[in-house]
Symmetry: D2
Subunit: 287 residues, 4 copies
């Protein structure tokens, strides 16, 4: 059972360390350092204390810690020594979808490890494969000091997500983004009901829904975790919605309205209205 | 050399008939009937006189005429007896792109010929294959009298297009549609220059262009003939256009803006503006 | 103190009639008729029972009832016999704002009374003076039976509003409309904070507010009762909002953005978003 | 009769000077200086040569020249010594419309003359009175050197406008702006015909027109000279346009659509489309 923050604050030191086992990859010393800062008022404060321990560690310990992370690679998934967290995170990313670009990624990954002395670390739960590759190629041009900062920032993202899966309590850190849509019928001056919506991410259909009486989907399109940085497309099927309207040609001017957009902030709030007319539409980032 | 309308009006009767050979498939009698109505003030009037001859023909002659048309089919393309006009028209349509639906088309085509006693005739230069199939399936439900009207209407489209390829003169009938696009930058309040545009028809890239200083393409996207009834998509590549702007995230909110639309009127004027902001866009059918 | 529906249901018959005194103008018999239908599950049901009593009354009683209503007129306000409800309702309307058209109204009002045999009755709390005049002139062309229906429909509106001021309880009838606004900054992709908004009705400033962090006003612009049928204008002061932006000229392209609209449904929900760019804006009826 | 540039290039020196009399206020020496640069290829080149003479004049001559300009003031209009150009220009501006602010203008004008030693000069044909006042108050804060530059820039505007009234020829300088409007019906997907348009400048109605079959006015709204810097409002009367449409309430949601905008560039091209729906509209600066 997931412990509460209160329980973590009250439990013996070694139980605390055990409870956080796996949040920081092969690095029990992080929790051991933070234990003396208890009690924590919020889960966010707990995470900040853990990261402070990482940042305060001597340089060689920090390097060892970075080196303790598995490489991000389809091959690494076959390694029985991979932690279960890493296995789940990398598996959910699906780097093999890169196809021919996978070799390019592997080469850049090797160059990275040679250049910086530790493996390329990125919070894959916040990413899609093309942007992992793009990020790697950009970070390859960093200075070593700059890159160590970047790597620790990714560690913070990784461990924040792992922590919220292991502890409940007040002041949970923000780790989830939000994506929603809304369809307004500007010919009739009311919400558009019954419009089918498909959501694609990097070309893969990940959600289907219909607009309800308010022109919204009953649940947000995405809200359960970070929105992966990447390219998305909403497709609004309006052909049947228009059926029987006046001023509609056959075939209608619009059948499916695709709206492509990219998520840059995985924890961001993204609301996408579609103002739908028979011969016009408008979209914008709403609030 | 293409004769002028004046020349057609003045030439001997058999030269007139010869000059129009092939406009009406295997039916020299059409031109022979119309010859007595010369002179024609416009090419449109000439075409109307030819169609009037068709409409005035006795029912059995009309049926023979309809039966003289080749079936619309990839197999028909292999028939050495096909007229060169039909060969070019059918070849340009590309029914094989229907893939698995081709068998469905062939079956409906056979059913059509059995039901009506003449082959399915459609002006293929105004069509894409999915809409040929859709049209066939709809016309199968017509009453025979109704369908003969529909078939003659297609004959009028076919022959109008053939005629404007064979005669020049005043009062040419309208056979060409028009498709253009325009990009306005609503953040800077001026035309958006340098935006790459791709135009797809039924999934196939058929044109590429860039916007010029006026936010338009130097030439219309399509203007040389009928716009084929079907589904189109414009893709505006705005990612590089936004590069260096303030308020742009990385990746930018919009990279490629796709606008899907359908052409219902092959001779229509379609103008598609894109009002482009950093976090919004609007499109409409312009004029 | 305002009685609850429960109390009305339980009180002696004459107390019930007394509690509803004044809801129906000079017509205690309405409450006396409805009393036998107690208990009422909702305030709406109570109102419906009262209106049913009105509708069920013999024709001459109904006519007497209609005739018991004061004329709608600035002169009537001077009559000491006017009920306090009528005084407040007519006073809030402000017919004198009609100016030169007041004489036209008085003449039509006299013509109405001559034609139909009872004074012109309208629920003035749902109206602005120009639309009272317009409504009167339209209703003058009604057939007598048709107009009696129209008059009773206005009685229903008048008494519904009076009732919700006198009774509390479950199932209150809907008597309030809703007007709100929202400003989105489509250049920065977020809500526009600090935009001043003025609301005018028939040329008179009736509300001022600023947008908050969500681009909305802290409270709805109007929500406390019926929205008076009439012409409104929102004026968004964006000049200071734009100050310091790039791509803004001096003076800026937009300083004040006026949006005129008319309310046709006093109990309706009206939401008016403004999608604000530097060189464009869009508005629509939202939901 | 207005001389051509060719004639100016060819005429005797004193005739040239006489032909340009009044372009530069009480300063024949300007034309006398420029005469030696003949021939001029364009009218623009002629104007540039005249301005070059002004700029090249010794400081005290330049100051005398500036001092030779009449004060901008309703009182100055009564001075019989005012040149006819100045009289017409100032008369067209209408400073008395400033009302109570006129005293503020007069005071700032006196302060200006004391501060800089010459009267406040502005090209009034490019201005509305509120912006003359605003410009004066801003320029009062200039450093003397900076302000002399500003004054000469206004001289260039004044004399350019006077010159194009006196000479014809190739390469006329750009002195006219352009204002036009366009109404698109996005419910029917075509231009909106028959919409009444009123144009106001600083609250004064200056033009009325109707949209034609293309949704445009037959002539530009303004195109005959500089657009005066100031605040404008277009009012599109759409109430009758909507009459008989489905989904239109009574009164309609929109009756008159006002679009306020400000002109900052008198020689600019301003195109204002209105994308009109039943329950939405969009406007933008077009091209």
């Amino acid at each position: 059972m997931m412990p509460t923050l209160d329980q973590l604050n009250a439990m013996p030191q070694d139980a605390f360390v055990a409870a956080l086992d796996g949040v920081f990859e092969h690095a029990a010393w992080v929790a051991e350092t933070a234990v003396s800062s208890r009690p924590f008022a919020t889960v966010t404060a707990l995470h900040e204390a853990l990261m402070a321990a990482v940042h305060a560690a001597p340089s060689d310990i920090g390097l060892d810690f970075l080196c303790g992370h598995p490489p991000l690679s389809p091959k690494a998934l076959a390694d029985p020594g991979l932690t279960s967290s890493s296995r789940a995170e990398q598996g959910g990313l699906g780097m093999t979808s890169l196809g021919e670009q996978l070799a390019r990624f592997e080469a850049a990954s090797s160059a990275y490890e040679i250049r910086f002395g530790f493996p390329f670390i990125v919070c894959v739960r916040r990413q899609t494969p093309p942007f992992v590759l793009r990020g790697l190629e950009r970070r390859l041009t960093n200075m070593p000091d700059q890159e160590r900062v970047a790597a620790f920032a990714e560690i913070a993202h990784i461990t924040r997500l792992r922590l919220v899966d292991r502890v409940t309590g007040p002041g949970m850190p923000k780790t989830a983004g939000h994506l929603s849509a809304h369809v307004l019928d500007t010919v009739r001056g009311k919400a558009a009901e019954g419009v089918g919506i498909e959501l694609f991410r990097e070309g893969v259909l990940i959600k289907q829904a219909f607009t309800n009486h308010d022109g919204r989907t009953d649940a947000p399109l995405l809200a359960d975790g970070p929105l992966r940085i990447g390219r998305y497309e909403l497709r609004f099927n309006v052909e049947t919605y228009f059926a029987g309207w006046p001023n509609i040609t056959d075939p209608p001017w619009y059948d499916i309205i695709p709206i492509r957009f990219s998520v840059a902030d995985p924890e961001g709030h993204y609301h996408i209205p579609l103002l739908l007319g028979a011969w016009t539409y408008t979209t914008y980032r709403g609030s």
